[in-house]
């Protein structure tokens, strides 16, 4: 699964640590998500969507 997390984070000029704090996860998890090597659970995907104010399908693509 691909995602636009890195671009969305860059738009806000957030570091991985800042995004991690917003999501309540570790920086390593944000890194794993951004590189597409870890797919989030549905609850985390909803949290990500809420943090960026976008629908899940706009952030994650197949």
């Amino acid at each position: 699964m691909n995602n636009h997390l890195k671009a969305l984070r860059a738009e806000r000029d957030w570091s991985q640590a800042v995004l991690a704090e917003h999501l309540g996860v570790s920086r390593q998890t944000v890194n794993a998500l951004e590189t597409g090597r870890y797919d989030p659970s549905l609850p985390l995907a909803f949290r990500i969507a809420k943090v960026f104010g976008q629908p899940i399908e706009a952030i994650f693509t197949e």
Partner: protein, 153 residues
């Protein structure tokens, strides 16, 4: 490290120190009673004390493990789950090979070095087998856990 994780580690450390202190005090009490002429079955006392300490240590480890799993995020949990399943199973499989080999004719001639205070009784060899299997499983756990994170950097 988050406050929750720090509290769990400090709580675990405190429990270990507390257990050591209780064991130490128990030893002093038994020694005092023995010196005072009270007849104490030391073997039975040691059995019950060690049994209670072992149960407390293992139960405490499970509680700390549960608290730790609740304090980490989902990716870290996934890493532990993968490590437990693949690493633990891999270690168990390696131990299974050794176990099957030990049933072969001639295996009884293999000389093992006694490590448990020089003991060579069945209980000591049982402990050797359990310790060996646990070690293999823990090695597998550590390898898979590290692999999980390294491939997701």
């Amino acid at each position: 490290m988050t406050t929750a994780k720090r509290n769990i580690l400090l709580g675990g450390l405190g429990a270990v120190v507390g257990l050591l202190a209780v064991s130490f005090l128990g030893g002093i009490v038994v020694g005092y009673l023995e010196a005072s002429g009270v007849r104490i079955d030391l073997r039975a006392s040691a059995f019950w004390i060690i049994l209670l300490v072992a149960i407390a240590v293992m139960a405490g480890s499970l509680v700390i493990g549960a608290l730790w799993m609740r304090s980490i995020d989902e990716a870290a949990r996934e890493a532990h789950k993968a490590a437990w399943f693949w690493g633990g199973s891999g270690g168990m499989a390696a131990g299974g090979v050794l176990m099957i080999l030990s049933a072969l004719p001639g295996a009884e001639t293999i000389a093992l070095t006694p490590w448990l205070m020089g003991r060579t009784d069945p209980a000591a060899w049982m402990a050797t087998g359990a310790f060996a299997l646990m070690t293999l499983m823990l090695i597998g756990y550590g390898v898979v856990w590290a692999w999980w994170w390294l491939t997701r950097r």
